[in-house]
């Protein structure tokens, strides 16, 4: 009887060890994607709300360098970082839980170095607004000048998120 219990325990332990190996390899994380939403306006920046944060000087200058994205004020409304999976799609909801801005993305191939090709969709108010394929590079994000809101426009930035450093 004692031996029987021992065998069952060993089998259970073996199953527990093998379980991670049997996981779907398609769920392997091959990168991270960060989606950030800014409110850009030439009017009152406080219109974005009290919780909206000013963006860094570098980001503001970078946006202003492009004429189509040039506004007097930028405010950070929200951000979400989601894993880029080998076989499955991922959803980023930077304004969670409103669902007003959602980005669906899926890898088109294995990221090479600091570059990744994505199948990307932008959903606004739960409607698909645009579907495209985007090449993201470490220092080269994708900016989408989106809908108007409170005297300004939303800018949705999609970028590769650097891998977090261990211990940080």
């Amino acid at each position: 009887m004692k031996r029987r219990a021992c065998i069952i325990a060993c089998l259970a332990a073996a199953c527990a060890c093998l379980a991670p190996a049997a996981e779907d390899p398609g769920k392997t994380e091959i990168g991270k994607i960060r989606v950030t939403v800014y409110h850009a306006t030439d009017g009152d920046p406080q219109a974005a709300g009290g919780k909206a944060q000013p963006v860094s000087k570098e980001t503001a200058e970078r946006l202003r360098r492009e004429e189509r994205l040039r506004f007097k004020h930028y405010r950070l409304l929200g951000s979400d970082t989601q894993p880029l999976l080998r076989s499955y799609e991922s959803w980023a909801e930077p304004l969670k839980p409103s669902g007003e801005v959602m980005v669906r993305f899926e890898a088109q191939g294995q990221p090479a170095g600091q570059s990744a090709m994505l199948d990307l969709e932008l959903w606004l108010a739960r409607k698909k607004i645009i579907k495209t394929d985007a090449r993201l590079q470490g220092d080269r994000p994708l900016f989408m000048l989106g809908p108007e809101w409170r005297g300004g426009r939303l800018i949705i930035a999609v970028a590769l998120a650097p891998e977090s450093k261990p211990g940080s």
Binding site: V55, T59, R62, E66, L76, A112, R135, P147, E148, W149
Partner: protein, 199 residues
């Protein structure tokens, strides 16, 4: 009883081909048929006219010479050569397939060499020299998108036009999912330590 001659006999009589008793019997019947006599006269006149125009037979020019040539040609005709026996082994019999094989191998080799020179285009690392312009699909009616690369901003930009405005009543300050600064630092960024969360 039908005493009228048939059409065949009439035709033979018109051509003056009837002889003997048949001719006599027909002449007896046709005696009272002046139209047939007129037709026979017409036929005779037509035959005489044709005979005057076309000679009955014409001898070939210089028949003796012609016959002599034919006779000589027959006499001098070379004997029919015997069917050549199947040739045996010859160098051409193996040279041609060998040359074809060599040509094929050369073509494959050159093709492979050229293929190895062509850079493979994979999705992840397409050659930088080829501008990859994405396809933009905007399913919503009235929405269009403009894509361009901005060297000044070091970014790719998509400008969406015709998108419905978000109502001002929508308050993102209540729904915004902003993490604390410590978490932002932990997730690192392109410029670590300085607004790391932004691209």
């Amino acid at each position: 009883m039908n005493t009228n001659p048939d059409e065949t006999k009439l035709a033979l009589w018109l051509e003056d081909e009837l002889k003997g008793e048949e001719l006599a019997a027909f002449e007896q019947w046709v005696a009272g048929q002046p139209e047939h006599h007129a037709a026979r006269e017409e036929a005779r006149r037509w035959r005489s006219m044709m005979a005057a125009a076309v000679p009955a037979s014409e001898e070939p020019p210089y028949p003796e010479f012609f016959n002599h040539r034919v006779t000589r040609a027959i006499r001098e005709e070379p004997p029919v050569p015997a069917v050549p026996a199947k040739r045996g082994f010859h160098w051409q019999s193996f040279f041609m397939p060998l040359a074809a094989c060599a040509g094929m191998v050369l073509a494959f080799w050159l093709g492979g060499k050229n293929a190895s020179l062509t850079p493979e285009i994979d999705v992840a690392g397409a050659p930088r020299a080829i501008p990859v312009e994405p396809i933009l699909y905007t399913p919503e009616k009235g929405v269009d998108a403009e894509w361009f690369t901005s060297s000044k901003a070091s970014a790719t930009v998509i400008v969406l036009n015709g998108v419905a405005a978000i109502p001002d009543a929508t308050d993102f300050s209540e729904t915004a999912f902003l993490r604390e600064l410590r978490e932002m630092d932990a997730t690192a960024g392109m410029n670590p330590g300085n607004q790391a969360m932004e691209p």
